[in-house]
């Protein structure tokens, strides 16, 4: 069974849960920006949670099905159509051979996950089908999908229509979006007033935000505690001697525009990182459109772990619901 791409959308890519284990070699984990939505989409169509799906950002693709399949679309509210008939989001539906799946204008969120029963079965690279275009790994020959691509799938007809994720378990950011932050190793580099200002200010998602990093604008420039820069660090106070970056860490080059490193980020460099977005909120970032208002909320480790546990429980409830 294959999916024929009639129109790829903007930058629609094949993603699964990524390729952890190579970040120390500079190869990012990759995988879905909203892992919760990808897992839910796979559960709806009876796939293993880590099966490969399509991640459509801001615009949907047009796909012709060459045989029947169960399909589900989760994440962003991108109105779903099968041969121009509407379908419900976060709910499984059937597509017959010869029918075309397409999408209307994005209503909210940023990334929709399209799961097909049997999963997309393009070749794995380093244990994952996730597309990492800069490294030409995964996806279709290392790139996002293009017109005329024919994507192979596992071919099962799946569990059929009508399986649905209850509304209260469809996790999406609010407006303004609240992103919880655990201050990190370099927090001491900020003056007390400037650190407080980071959390008081309202920020907006910059249009250049992508799978590597989400950039934010509009808050006050940060002020640093004066020091003599150590040997090996650049002259700007936002520079450090090169160090490792973690998934979710927040760097602020020049102290002006925070950048949250996301799934396709670099693994190290010479900018201080004031802390990290907690793991439970990284999925929410994947659903932020440009110009969305955002507040950063300070939490401690206990709150971060409680949030992680809460998110896990939501996922477990979806598994039980769709069992």
């Amino acid at each position: 069974m294959t999916l024929k791409i009639l129109n790829p959308g903007l930058s629609t890519s094949i993603q699964d849960l990524g390729r952890p284990g190579y970040f120390h070699l500079g190869i990012p984990m990759g995988g879905a920006m909203d892992r919760f939505a990808l897992r839910a989409a796979n559960l709806l169509v009876g796939n293993p949670e880590d099966a490969a799906c399509l991640e459509a950002v801001f615009m949907g693709p047009h796909i012709e099905f060459q045989s029947a399949a169960t399909v589900a679309v989760t994440g962003a509210d991108l109105p779903i159509k099968v041969d121009d008939e509407p379908r419900e989001p976060w709910t499984s539906f059937e597509v017959n051979a010869g029918q075309v799946l397409s999408f209307g204008f994005l209503a909210s969120g940023a990334r929709a996950y399209i799961a097909v029963s049997g999963g997309i079965t393009t070749p794995e690279a380093l244990g994952s089908r996730s597309t990492y275009p800069i490294g030409a790994l995964g996806g279709v020959n290392g790139r996002p999908i293009q017109t005329s691509d024919e994507l192979p799938t596992g071919g099962s007809s799946g569990p059929g229509a009508g399986r649905s994720v209850p509304r209260e378990l469809r996790r999406m950011p609010g407006n303004p979006a609240e992103l919880r932050v655990l201050p990190g190793l370099y927090w001491h580099r900020l003056t007390e007033e400037s650190g407080a200002g980071f959390f008081d200010d309202e920020w907006k998602v910059a249009p250049e935000a992508d799978r590597m990093g989400y950039r934010f604008k509009g808050g006050k420039p940060l002020k640093f505690v004066e020091r003599e820069q150590p040997f090996g660090a650049g002259a700007d106070p936002s520079n450090i001697v090169d160090g490792c970056y973690s998934y979710g860490s927040i760097q602020v080059p020049g102290g002006t525009e925070p950048i949250v490193l996301h799934r396709d980020a670099v693994s190290g460099g010479g900018y201080f990182t004031l802390g990290a977005i907690i793991s439970a909120d990284m999925d929410l970032i994947g659903q932020l459109q440009p110009h969305t208002a955002v507040r950063f909320v300070r939490v401690d480790m206990q709150e971060a772990l409680a949030a992680r546990s809460h998110r896990r429980n939501m996922l477990q409830r979806i598994r039980e619901e769709l069992h």
Binding site: L10, M59, G104, F105, P207, E208, A209, D210, Q289, P290
Partner: protein, 77 residues
């Protein structure tokens, strides 16, 4: 009368470059597939094309300003 809608969210531009003239001016003929403006998102500029033909009336979105997916950016008659 018809409208050209932005297919995606981002920052809208009426001109191909800062020093250039806008893509269309009042009274210009517009054919299906003509570029009306640009939307910048994820370090990429995407051309917004008209899916209708007619006579260009006006831009409905401001240059260098945020637009949403589905927002009208130009009116034709």
């Amino acid at each position: 009368m018809s409208q050209v809608l932005s297919p995606l969210p981002g920052t809208f531009y009426k001109k191909p470059s800062p020093d250039a003239a806008p893509y269309k001016s009042k009274g210009d003929q517009v054919a299906v597939g003509d570029t009306i403006g640009l939307v910048e998102v994820m370090k990429t500029f995407i051309e917004v094309k008209s899916d209708a033909s007619g006579t260009f009336r006006e831009y409905l979105a401001d240059d260098s300003c945020p637009v949403m997916a589905g927002q009208p950016i130009a009116g034709l008659e």
